[in-house]
């Protein structure tokens, strides 16, 4: 580890902490329609969109109507993206004559971006036209992000409201979040990225002669406009196959830190929005503190493992010590300009959130490093998580925590004055269990079928980690790839599409149901037996519950993969 590495980690953390409160305040005003500077200027556009869609913004929805609106909207999104991909060879803005996308890959990609996963079984620069990137991928990045935030806001309303049958209007939430939150951030930051060197052009790929006289193709396109939303939305789908390791997607030291900030910004700020909407900001800080604690543990473990490198190299005389010439440690699969420090920070940020953008090859991380990346996703991505999905995931664990505390003292659990009953606990369990069931079930199927094993490029525990990572990334709607697994086959495209579908919608529906049942309840006054949830004691309980639930669920699978590989590495065997 180097002091420069820790300095950028502390700088990153300080900026996030500084931005949580102002952005949390802004998001609250946006979703409540309380008239921000941006909102006052764009209101005519908002109302025009409602008129066009036939939506009455004053009419709120009960939770099933909210959920059905969301599902129908996403079905249309999948169909639209699928159609664009299947017809891209016939559509305009295809200067490099990209061929039509195969049906299974098109479905996988359409589900992937509609569910805010951005799992990519293709290389963007060799597969997609500019129209597919702009009207397909980028549009869905905006919309899937807005959907996630809308669900989180609906759940917050469930806690904040008293004896109300409704949880908001999906179409209004979707419109306001896109118009007043995502676009006002995305447009200036895209211009900033373009200024830093990220291409934004509709011209075809360039060709250049190398110093050796060979001809080289330089892929380019409307990158900046997609780059910004891939990060801000928690989507993570790169314009290029190398994602944020590509110098055209992440050209400078400044863009490196801005990209990581964009990934965490909304997810972290939503904790403050939560506190404001339930009229007790301490509740939001408790959730933020739990996220920060888990993030710090993961980052320190990962950075330590990557800095230590591979002990087998010591016998070969390979220098792994940090010095003037190198950042030391395990540099395989990492950009030299980022080093171990920023690669470790970026990898932790991208898996703790649901983003999935990468600036290093996760397959080349040490076994312990890979374990941290897997664990971040397996903990239901509540360590900030995706915009919205991280917060509602954390609130599900908060319900489990108060439920366990209630069982211990023999009282009906309460959270924020709402009695937590069998209804909420059943829905919480549904939401929390469907993701592990999907990950472990699908990984098990792929492990035993020849068509699944055919995709592996590494043997032993590392091969198992590749397979486990793929399904974890898909079901947790992360989208980052461990690499090393050939997934562009009908088997993987369809099974991973199913994992993404289940990991997104089978979680969102019970979350909205909880929002509906909570909103209908009255608030009971706190008594001497009420568990205080606004202090460090509850933060500790929450972190403990998350670690125990995640640990019990996934420990056997992690032992078979990264833990076994780590032990083998110490014994001198690598895979």
């Amino acid at each position: 580890m180097t002091w420069q590495g820790w300095l950028q980690i502390m700088l990153f953390a300080a900026i996030i902490v500084a931005l949580v409160k102002p952005l949390g305040w802004y998001i609250e005003r946006v979703v409540n329609g309380e008239g921000t500077w941006v909102q006052r200027r764009l209101t005519p556009i908002e109302h025009a969109l409602y008129r066009l869609a036939g939506v009455d913004p004053a009419r709120e929805q009960i939770w099933p109507a909210y959920a059905v609106s969301l599902l129908v909207f996403n079905l249309v999104g999948i169909l639209a993206l699928y159609t664009i991909l299947r017809l891209q060879a016939l559509l305009p803005l295809n200067p490099d004559a990209q061929a039509t996308v195969a049906p299974d890959l098109a479905l996988n990609t359409a589900v992937s971006f509609t569910t805010n996963t951005s799992w990519q079984a293709y290389g963007g620069e060799t597969t997609l036209s500019y129209l597919s990137q702009m009207a397909g991928i980028t549009v869905q990045s905006f919309l899937s992000c807005a959907v996630g935030i809308a669900v989180a806001i609906a759940l917050i309303r469930g806690f904040a409201r008293r004896t109300m049958p409704t949880i908001g209007n999906f179409w209004v939430d979707l419109t306001r979040i896109t118009l007043y939150l995502l676009l006002p951030v995305a447009i200036p930051v895209a211009l900033f990225l373009a200024w830093q060197g990220v291409p934004q052009t509709l011209a075809a790929h360039a060709t250049a002669a190398t110093l050796d006289g060979a001809t080289q193709t330089l892929a380019r396109g409307p990158v900046a406009s997609q780059d910004v939303i891939k990060l801000l939305s928690g989507d993570g789908g790169g314009f290029f196959n190398a994602n944020s390791a590509h110098p055209f997607e992440n050209p400078t030291a400044v863009t490196g830190i801005v990209e990581m900030l964009l990934i965490f910004l909304i997810g972290a700020a939503l904790t403050n929005t939560f506190g404001r909407m339930v009229r007790d900001q301490r509740q939001g800080w408790v959730l933020f503190a739990a996220m920060a604690a888990l993030f710090t543990i993961g980052l320190a473990t990962l950075y330590g493992a990557e800095s230590a490198g591979n002990p087998a190299f010591a016998g070969l005389g390979v220098d792994q010590v940090a010095g003037v010439a190198q950042s030391g440690g395990n540099l395989e699969g990492k950009e030299v300009r980022f080093g171990v420090g920023q690669s470790s920070l970026f990898a932790t940020v991208t898996t703790a959130s649901s983003d999935g953008a990468v600036n290093a090859m996760h397959d080349s991380f040490t076994p312990l490093g890979g374990l941290v990346l897997l664990a971040n996703m397996m903990l239901d991505e509540v360590i900030v998580g995706g915009p919205g999905s991280g917060l509602f995931g954390m609130l599900l664990f908060a319900l489990v925590a108060v439920f366990i505390a209630g069982l211990m003292v023999g009282r009906t659990p309460e959270y924020l004055g709402k009695k937590i009953t069998a209804d909420e606990m059943k829905m919480t369990m549904l939401a929390l269990l469907c993701v592990p069931a999907m990950i472990l079930g699908a990984a098990a199927v792929a492990c035993v079928l020849p068509v699944g094993l055919a995709g592996l490029s590494n043997a032993g525990p590392h091969g198992f980690s590749e397979l486990l990572y793929a399904f974890t990334s898909a079901a947790a709607t992360n989208g980052s790839a461990f690499a090393g697994l050939s997934v562009n086959t009908p088997f993987y495209n369809l099974l991973l599409a199913l994992a993404m579908f289940v990991g997104r919608f089978m979680v969102i529906v019970p979350v909205l149901c909880i929002a509906g049942t909570l909103a209908a309840k009255r608030v009971v006054p706190a008594s001497a037996g009420t568990l205080p949830t606004g202090g460090p004691q509850f933060t500790g309980l929450l972190v403990g519950v998350i670690v125990v639930v995640g640990g019990l669920t996934f420990l056997p699978a992690l032992v078979l993969g990264p833990v076994a590989e780590h032990v083998a590495m110490i014994a001198g065997t690598t895979y």
Binding site: P64, D104, L107, K419, T421, M506, V509, K521
Partner: protein
């Protein structure tokens, strides 16, 4: 042909999701305000 098959699969998945909404609604409505304790 494959497109049609995949679209049928997609429609089936959303039909299950809609049924899931109904099941969750029925489950919580049937329980009413039952408390754990």
């Amino acid at each position: 042909m494959i497109d049609l098959l995949l679209l049928i699969l997609l429609a089936a998945a959303f039909a299950v999701a809609l049924r899931y909404v109904h099941a969750c609604d029925t489950l919580t409505a049937a329980q009413g305000s039952e408390h754990i304790q």
